[in-house]
Symmetry: C2
Subunit: 213 residues, 2 copies
């Protein structure tokens, strides 16, 4: 399977490098490949570089690794026809930095960014996942507590979720909890405020939660 | 120290019984002690029964164990003069059941119920805690995973938090994370949506999260 990764921040780079390391064909997409040239130097050579539209057209499975505030714009630039019929792993968080630190959310409670994306692109299989951990843990859960902690997925399409669970397992995730349909993206995004407070209290983003039963 | 517990639901009963079991003097407060008589039968005999105002006057340390939607009313009935100068452990969650299941929150993101209570009663040392687990776990963390999971506290008054940490330890909590000032109540209350989804996915509320580092 070919992968397209939208976004060249820490998340997009981590996902792209990990996919390449796993031997997959991957293209990372950016608003302006020329302007992002310096930033893209840390990527493995086998990671192809292109625009949002080129990466979306290239990938059979796509990752939205753009910042939440620009996700909708980036997906529009990727183009509906390049997205339709594909699975999109939505990693974005609707963080609003305009009202001071820690950031609040620009959508929450009775709606979510994951659902907004799904409504804007109804022919895409949106699966929310990976947004609850820092980039380094997304692609290497063994980096903390031997991988003994939990990842969540939600989405409206069961087969899309199954596909995403497959790649999460390749990344090294062994505990994956299906929270149901995409309205659970509200819960996964509203987890961010406590993640941010824990980051402050623990002095590091290298942590995750494990369900204790 | 004497304890006052506002609210006679599962949370108020669990807290009151546990405090009595630990040998503390405790009064549980309700809107109408006569109407609540049947409900209060499951309480230990040593738990005193009274109105919100009587329980607030009795206690040196108070627990707000009322439902979030009625917390402000209950505290007003308890009376500012009975609350002032005391520490109040706010366990409430601002759950809004009017918009269908799972419930949304009637305050969130840039404010919280904990902060609303603090603003309404500025002379009270509000400490948010215990709202992230089910009643049985609040008072007996060993009930799941041998107690190896995390409780959070936040509040503006360091000595109030210290007092609350003391009683949490008596309940059996060994992992207590201070998330900072009371604005962290936003994060602790916004955790509820994922708690509710996990409850659905796991088929039981007998769980908590543990930080994996």
């Amino acid at each position: 399977m070919k992968y397209g990764v939208l976004g060249t921040g820490m998340v997009g780079q981590a996902i792209s490098n990990r996919l390449a390391e796993l031997g997959h064909e991957v293209m990372i997409g950016t608003r302006d490949p020329v302007r992002s040239k310096e930033k893209l130097k840390s990527l493995r050579e086998t990671v192809k570089k292109g625009t949002f539209a080129e990466a979306a057209a290239f990938g059979e499975l796509l990752f939205n690794a753009t910042g939440g505030a620009v996700s909708m714009d980036a997906l529009k630039m990727a183009g509906t026809s390049n997205l339709n019929g594909k699975v999109l792993v939505d990693i974005s968080n609707p963080l609003d930095f305009a009202k001071g630190m820690p950031p609040s959310l620009f959508v929450s409670n009775t709606d979510s960014l994951g659902e907004q994306i799904q409504r804007a692109f109804p022919e895409v299989g949106v699966v929310k996942s990976l947004n609850t951990v820092t980039a380094a843990i997304m692609v290497d859960p063994q980096a903390v507590a031997g991988g003994d902690h939990d990842m969540f997925v939600c989405g409206n399409d069961a087969s899309a979720k199954e596909t995403v669970v497959g790649i999460l397992k390749e990344f090294g995730w062994s505990h994956i909890i299906d929270l149901g349909d995409l309205s659970a993206a509200r819960a996964m995004e509203m987890y961010l405020p406590i993640w941010l407070r824990l980051w402050g209290a623990l002095g590091s983003g290298m942590f995750n939660i494990r369900i204790a039963q």
